[in-house]
Symmetry: C2
């Protein structure tokens, strides 16, 4: 067995290798490999390759290859509506899991929806509407099996804040509602467009760290907003920053707090948190926190109804419109000044909603190990929100907490969303009037207990440990949201993320290499203190493609390494550097600016009597070195396959007398 | 000698190496090197290191190290005013070169200045003013020895276009002039600020290719604008795009062209172009094109004066104000609506001026091999423009054509700028009235012959050969300027440059590696067709730091390589992949998103019974793998120094029966 492997590895040639390498020593006739020049590519092919790698990196058309036309049509249809693919293998046993999961998330989403609608300054029924139509559409078009669709806290808050900046919901509720639908429409269009044009990778520009910070900040902000309902305060600030909110809370302390409200709110909050704790400790009891909100609502509503606590200042929901979603197609602003505003708000809310949904989809897909086409997901989410905007829904997306419950309750397919949607339908048709006496304080407690898990201390600790720069982004987004506003937090998050990218491309790392004793391997001497420098030769590795954004830096950094080295050598009066080997393995590409920088480096070195040598340039680089005739400038014999080859060739030519 | 080298290289241990490697074969006890874990760095030190590399990459404070305080003060002063450093070694022989160079560029700049001022819709004397004060300031503060300071064509055009969009210069010349000074002031402030805060690297974001295209487009646009003067057209469009200009030219053909003007203009244009050609063919005759413009001006002015051609419709300069720069401090808008506009225009013009000056400075510094601190240059240029804005100058910067003449005429230091400045002073004081009869057509020919060399066909060809994407950027900028406007061209150039950066960070290259026969080296199988894959093992190299912007892509790309490989193996019914080695040499850094992606990759592979192995992670990566405990997840024994080590360890454990 081991013999077979050795054979396959080519170890039979082992003796030849030793022979070849020992020849270096004895006869000074090194055996040097040629650097491969890749076959010249057709220009169109090259461009097509780049485009494919950029927009179709996941090769979504793979299954369409070599299929007859009729089959292709079926595949396209199935790609658009995955339900017709997995639906064919759907079975009763799968439905059992989906039914239980669907009922569980329905019990969780109904009270949450009512509360989230308030966050967006909308009447409670709009929350329920958004848990009816969008999940249905998603079930037909989406490919995630575990995501639970509906309104979510962060998007509701973002939408509420942005809409409120344009129209005061208490002064002009009709236009406010219309603007909300307009924003939802454009959120859907944005999501659809990004997916359709396969630009989904754009959401990757919001870094994980920034999202963690943003979510935590939004959670704190949302929780603070709930103090209004929880303490029964009537006059409350419209700002969301912590300073304004706390000032509002304290100034209401003397006359505005309502002890009955506080009593109800606090006791049920405690109940919810205990239920959450139980669910966290015993994974089997995940249903305890899942149904706790509904129990709280039922109990507290009953309690208020019996004691008529609403006469004592306990604020209640009062009215929820009965019946299913009315059409809202005519309410969307397709012209006028609000069109542009709705568009702007929609794009922002759509992107954030997308980020959340895609993150959830990916998480669960990787847990159950199935593939998820991010761009197809976006098309599904976009369609769902466009249809939603025409049926009185506001922006819906995947909810983290409900998706987790869905997963744990054993959902198998998107049918659990259909089940949930049906329960919401029944609720809308039959029992909305019963919510009349539900105290607002309960909704506040439910929201607080829901968002509290968005503050992911564990993730923050890990970020701190792993990458300090990421932590800055995380905290920047967090404090931006908490102390200023959601938009500012988001702006900070995006800016820091971009700054990191720019830093990466302008200041790539470089390293001086040394030989690891008893090998032919050259490594960063800072990482491997045992690695030794080769006298008279400086080996520098450049750790990035050399592009216009960094070409000048790379050139100057290499010259600085050389200057440092020369200084050290001078101090110990050893002979100077005669060869500068640039290890180019990590240099995947070079552009015209990069070539210019290399030429300048070459000239600068020539003036100092140092010879430039390149080791292991990659295919794209070799190609461009040839195109620009740089290989003729430095000499073809100065380009080697490995650093070792370069050293073996250069070392004997050196004059090491000081 | 060769023995000494071999000794130094550690080749004495050669036998040991062969022994160690043959052991792999015979005894299955491979000698594997440990991956180095860099010493844990202090947090503050780490941050300081990053900041230093970002903002002080060129180590500008090196000379301040270990110096007494008084010496430091002197050094700071010398750093601010390099003239006091090089001035101490200044000699008569150096002055000779500077004098000749200064006189040559003065003769070139005077006619150009008058023409360029017209491009910016300013009276001719403002061009001369801008060649008097700024070069003086620069001579004291700048560190380039070859740059020639003054107004330049592209910036004049840009400024003229942008200012004209705000104020009509023929209707409201006073406010127009004031806005020009305001823009100049803020251009200087922008340049100073960028330099002072060491943000100079920001201008590197405009790629070389984009600049080539932009400059060529601007040159064409400027040349087209000169048709007005050259053909003696009175009614001319204010737009700069080629379509509007040509329509304007044709519609004037019947009545607006003036044959005397055309005769003068064309014959002198021919003279200038011949002179230019001579200068290009024989480097020694560089002074021919340098003094040709002044000769043309003198000859044509004399000719017009004699023949009174101005009575026959030949347009002349008419009036240039005599005397040196008046103060313009009170003319700058420090408040009001024009403040913001001036600021915006100034930032744009300042950045473009900076790009040109820094490019020139770097080119000549690398030709004469001296160091240039880009950020210090920016401070000098900024100060010069701020002072300029207070002394009736508009934005000045380094001129490519005049700097080249300066260099070829043998300038040694910035004293040539002082000489030029003095000549301009004399001109202003004494001979401006003589320019009265200079025909505008001559200025047009001078400008055309000056800007024509900005169309760098050679550079464009090279860009086409080296990098197709760069060529798109180049052409985008070119056509943007020619067919639309300078701003649009600039916008296109910047957008394409950024798109390239984003592409680079979201879609890094990956490659499947194979073993190059008779070595222990593993290389891209596409580049080295001779490289062979190792059965049961897939080796993938990731060619970039793994950050949030690409982590998901990298993960999915690796899985796709695996899927492709498995498919191929299945077709030929060979055993599947059991080990996936990720060669991480080029992965210089990883962030939390990257770690997550690696964890997901690990889990996906586990489900497929493929073992994940890492080869040669760099210091930053090793650090973060440890911080996130990822090394415990995959097992410390799955991280190797080289791919060869990994294979030698994994191969014997494999079960290769299908």
């Amino acid at each position: 067995m081991s013999h077979r492997v050795a054979d396959a590895l080519g170890y039979k040639d082992m003796d030849n290798i030793s022979a070849a390498s020992s020849r270096h020593n004895s006869e000074n006739l090194p055996y040097v490999h040629k650097v491969g020049v890749p076959p010249k590519q057709n220009l169109l092919k090259e461009i097509a390759g780049t485009l494919k790698e950029t927009f179709f990196a996941d090769d979504p058309l793979r299954q369409f290859k070599d299929q007859p036309r009729s089959r292709k049509l079926v595949l396209v249809f199935q790609a658009l509506f995955p339900i017709f693919e997995w639906g064919r293998n759907y079975s009763l046993s799968k439905f059992k899991g989906d039914l239980i999961a669907g009922l569980t998330i329905a019990s969780l989403c109904i009270p949450q929806d009512i509360g989230y609608a308030k966050l967006a300054n909308l009447d409670p029924q709009y929350g329920l509407y958004s848990s009816f139509v969008p999940p249905l559409i998603y079930a037909f078009m989406g490919s995630s099996r575990d995501i639970a669709i509906g309104p979510v806290a962060v998007v509701s808050l973002l939408l509420g804040t942005l809409l409120q900046n344009e129209i005061d919901p208490s002064e002009n509720p009709v236009d406010y509602l219309r603007l909300a639908f307009t924003a939802t429409f454009f959120a859907g269009i944005t999501q659809f467009t990004l997916g359709f044009f396969r630009l989904g990778f754009l959401i990757d520009f919001l870094s994980h760290a920034a999202i963690v910070g943003f979510m935590a900040g939004a959670a704190i902000t949302i929780a603070l907003q709930q103090l209004k309902g929880l303490l029964g305060i009537k006059k409350f600030t419209k700002k969301t920053d912590i300073v304004s909110v706390m000032r509002s809370v304290w100034s209401a302390a003397h006359h505005g707090w309502n002890w009955e409200t506080i009593l109800i709110g606090m006791s049920f909050l405690a109940f919810l948190l205990v239920a959450k704790y139980i669910g966290k400790k015993k994974k089997k009891l995940f249903w305890v926190p899942a149904i706790a909100p509904l129990i709280s609502v039922v109990l507290s509503t009953f309690f208020v109804y019996i004691t008529r606590a609403d006469k004592h200042g306990v604020q209640i929901v009062k009215h929820i419109r009965r019946g299913i979603n009315p059409s809202s197609l005519n309410e969307i602003f397709f012209s006028g000044e609000y069109l542009a505003k709705g568009f702007r708000i929609g794009v922002l809310a759509g992107m954030i909603a997308l980020t959340e949904a895609v993150a959830i989809g990916r998480t669960f897909a990787s847990m159950k190990d199935y593939q998820l086409d991010g761009n197809k997901e976006m098309v599904a989410l976009g369609t769902m929100n466009v249809v939603g905007s025409m049926t009185s829904c506001y922006v819906a997306t995947g909810s983290f907490s409900r998706s987790a419950v869905n997963y744990m309750a054993g959902c198998n397919t998107a049918v659990s969303n259909i089940v949930m949607s049906s329960v919401v339908l029944l609720t809308l048709e039959l029992i909305t009037p019963l919510f009349k006496y539900t105290p607002n304080a309960i909704l506040a407690s439910i929201i607080i207990s829901a968002v509290i898990s968005l503050v992911d201390i564990e993730a923050m600790t890990l970020i701190w440990k792993v990458d300090k720069f990421d932590f800055v982004a995380c905290m920047g987004a967090f404090f931006g949201v908490v102390f200023s506003s959601v938009e500012i937090g988001l702006l900070i998050a995006v800016s820091i993320s971009f700054a990191k990218i720019l830093l990466q491309v302008t200041r790539p790392r470089t390293a001086v290499l040394g030989k690891i004793p008893r090998t032919t391997v050259y490594r960063n001497i800072l990482q491997y203190p045992a690695a030794t420098k080769v006298p008279g030769i400086l080996i520098v590795r450049v750790d990035s493609a050399i592009y216009f954004s960094n070409s000048n830096y790379v050139k100057e950094r290499i010259l600085r390494w050389l200057a440092d080295e020369e200084e050290q050598l001078k101090e110990s009066s050893r002979p100077g550097v005669q060869y500068l080997i640039v290890e180019m393995s990590p240099v995947t590409d070079i552009d015209t600016s990069g070539i210019h920088a290399m030429e300048e480096l070459f000239r600068s070195l020539e003036k100092r009597d140092v010879k430039l040598v390149l080791a292991n340039p990659g295919p794209a680089v070799v190609d461009k070195l040839h195109a620009s005739k740089f290989h003729e400038m430095i000499g073809e014999d100065r380009i080697f396959l490995t650093v070792e080859d370069a050293i073996v060739t250069c070392a004997p030519k050196m004059d090491l007398e000081p």
